[in-house]
Amino acid sequence: MSESRAAAPKGTFPRLQITEHHYPGPDGSLTLRLYRPETAAALSPGLIYIHGGGMIMGDLESQDENMREAATELNMPIASIDYRKAPEHPYPAAPEDCYAGVSWVFANPETLGMDPTNIGLMGASAGGGLALATALMLRDRGGPELAYLLPIYPMIDDRHATPSSHEVVDIGIWDRAGSIEAWGWYLGGKTADAYAAPARAEDLTRLPPTYIDVGDLDLFRDENIEITQRLSAAGVSVEFHLWPGAYHASELFAPDAALSRRIWATRYAAIRRMAGLSE
């Protein structure tokens, strides 16, 4: 059962219809915010987005402006899905919520204006880790088939054993001490498995075409490089970008920097390519 309500656009994106939809999750109602360009086809290629926040913070509102821009730029509907956070709701609450959200999108494509054969999944930071986890769950549970996957500087490894996880201690955005603390809240005393920390997944086969990017000053740099190599070795089509001079989420903190514009433009081009649209 879903219900929707119109949300008045507050930015400078008058060609978007923005609605919220509510659907049952594993432990109560969850919310999805849809950004639908008025010029998009009735059944358009679509994108599902999972916001970041270290598994402990963030919400639909935190990425609202970016979703407006992305939907406008790509001229495709974007469904931004929410999930429960730690420490109140430790693992597996978040990936199970994301799985429910993605499944609901695939079950309601006409409501969202999406072609169910051409829906991608994107997320950043914790959202990137959840995107990967959800893709693994969809594969393992025989769920709907994603057209493509964009884990952006994904948070995927609780072990903090890579060189970059030791190097990044004083940038001030997502450093080693805070990352270890957040993983502790997220796991809540449980041992991480592949859905909690996708870097631990032994089987990376049968995942959709994937795009990953990360800054070379990001704590997640080396775990992202490593999983890119492993995905490629597992036969997954992967495009990867390592951005020199970028720290964790720098394109969000400094959106007007030329580097940030290059990062977004490269992501948009990858989405268009993987969705079969002209770049």
Partner: protein, 35 residues
């Protein structure tokens, strides 16, 4: 060269502003959940 020296020049000001408001950046806020 330190990590800070390698930060993209145009991406640095928001970070410096964050440090000015919260010395240590987000690390300067003791309880991560409060971030």
């Amino acid at each position: 060269m330190s990590l800070w020296d390698r930060i993209d020049a145009e991406s640095r000001p928001p970070l410096e502003a964050l440090w000015e408001a919260h010395p240590g950046g987000l690390n300067g806020i003791p309880d991560i959940v409060a971030r």
